[in-house]
Symmetry: C2
Subunit: 324 residues, 2 copies
């Protein structure tokens, strides 16, 4: 009987700005039980961990007790794999103001090993463990959500760099002049254009700068989201399609630069914007083909995440738990 038979599960925690979602997952990526708490209902991290453990204890019992669980993985904003800490996470009430040793706290409370990394790295480990990157050694996951994140895998391992913060590909500069302001305080970053919020900004800019008819004109500009752009494009709206062409081509061009760095066998896209399907994936591929160096042409695959959408982040986080 090997260890996986004795301890067949890991816990995954997708720690988001609103909800903290927990899942107990087996080695095939089947989620056996889930629970959740509100991330921001606590001012002190001690209270957050206590509430988490209370919620977890119920689903841990459901799968046969803590002795069935190999470890726990946490995917969190500003998560540092090396230290297991969350560092100055701007959107978390108990985490914005310092360095929180969250992995250590959960490990002491539960009595199991706990690993922590940022959301995008967790997604990359999830793709390797249960998703479309099984068997791949070199690939890049790009998360297209409120921001643009990335998890880079080289030679079968996530790239963490000297400080645990490598893989911030949402913040490579795409527009060196007159670039949009970015949440990071700089200008022209990929994220300012290719995140869900970036897509909505592009929509507002295009609507303001032309008279082109569009279904999007029926909406208040400030209320436009990437979902509405996607719906309009799906109905054949030319301006909405143009927004996705612009976004995808810029992503493809960025990927051409990333290829020069680590020559991955695949780029894997993850998160809300991927729901637009070929509306976004086709221009990504076209932008890449147009800009990539000759020696890399035709080598990389462009894939959409293989993790189940609603629980992808929990699966990604849980995957960190297998390697501890």
């Amino acid at each position: 009987m090997n260890e996986q038979d004795l301890k067949p599960y890991v816990i995954g925690l997708d720690l988001g700005g609103t909800n903290s979602v927990f899942g107990i997952v087996d080695s095939r990526g089947d989620i056996k039980a889930t629970t959740a708490i509100k991330t921001q209902a606590y001012d002190e991290v001690e209270d957050y961990v206590k509430a988490s453990v209370d919620a977890l204890s119920i689903i841990i019992d459901q799968v046969g007790g803590i002795e069935k669980i190999k470890g726990m993985g946490i995917g969190a904003p500003n998560g540092n794999f090396y230290s297991g800490t969350i560092e100055f996470a701007p959107n978390i009430s108990w985490g914005h103001n310092g360095i929180v040793p969250l992995a250590d706290m959960f490990s002491k409370a539960l009595g199991i090993p706990v690993g922590l990394t940022n959301d995008a790295n967790a997604a990359a480990i999830g793709e390797m463990t249960y998703g479309v990157a099984r068997g791949m050694k070199n690939f890049i996951v790009i998360t297209l959500g409120t921001g643009v994140g990335s998890g880079i895998v080289v030679d079968g391992k996530v790239v963490y760099g000297c400080d645990g913060f490598a893989g911030e590909l949402g913040h490579v500069t795409m527009f060196r002049e007159n670039g949009r302001s970015c949440g990071c305080g700089r200008f022209g970053c990929l994220e300012a254009y290719c995140s869900a919020t970036g897509v909505a900004r592009t929509a507002r800019e295009l609507l303001a700068s032309s008279d082109e008819p569009s279904l999007l004109r029926e909406l208040e500009p400030e209320k436009i989201t990437s979902l509405e752009v996607s719906i309009a494009a799906g109905k054949g709206d030319a301006l909405a399609k143009h927004i996705f062409d612009f976004t995808g081509e810029l992503l493809g061009e960025a990927c051409a630069n990333f290829a020069a760095f680590s020559s991955p066998e695949a780029f894997i896209f993850f998160g809300g914007l991927t729901k637009a399907g070929n509306l976004i994936m086709d221009p990504i591929k076209a932008g890449y083909d147009k800009h990539v160096m000759q020696i890399f042409k035709g080598k990389a695959k462009f894939l959409v995440s293989g993790l189940d959408g609603s629980s992808a982040a929990v699966l990604g986080a849980s995957a960190v738990g297998w390697d501890l």
Copy 2:
């Protein structure tokens, strides 16, 4: 007695477009003997390898025979570490037209293991083995010569990617619009601006577009090289200094993007342009500080290669021989 005592040397081959320079090197990076042949004096690779082995046999005897030699490392343009081949190397008479299994050919001829990689990766391994990167696990070597090359080390290993061609950072796009043509067939690449030839191009452009007095005006524009720009800048020539400021700041800005990728603890510059010293290094650091993300600020060191200039490429190549 360990293996290093029995086989205390490796052979390094710096395979350039003009000369092929061989060195026999000990584990401290001392070159015990050298020889060289003309790279392009042969139409067939078989003749090139035969001439190399003839030249090598003399210096191999000088150090006590082939049984003293652990292996051989080759640094070559378009070298592929995975396959030990040189692939479509445009500037080599016997190598421009296909895939040459050079490592294998040398291994058979000499009876020792032979590894091959491109020049910049060899430089990175050389810095780890004998140079300023000893003890570092995450760093990037940027070679500033006729072109701009790079060797990326993550977690103590060179990044080769899915095909052996990762680390082409000279060909990230810096100017997305109106970029200079690059030797790779694309436009706006870092190499088109920050190589020695790029510096000379910048000089010609600036001289043509202004009336600013400069020592460089005493030269025929087509004969200006980066060395002359360096000499003029050293004498306080404002236009020449401006050229280095532009070049360095662009390199620093590129490094800020590279930090977002792999968060290295150091950027190490290698090759002819580094002889300009602070004229190039100061604007590199300034450009980096200005553009890098807040979380990476102040973390990376900016270093000049620690390998002895005249034999740096041979040392780098030889270092590949230790790991076989």
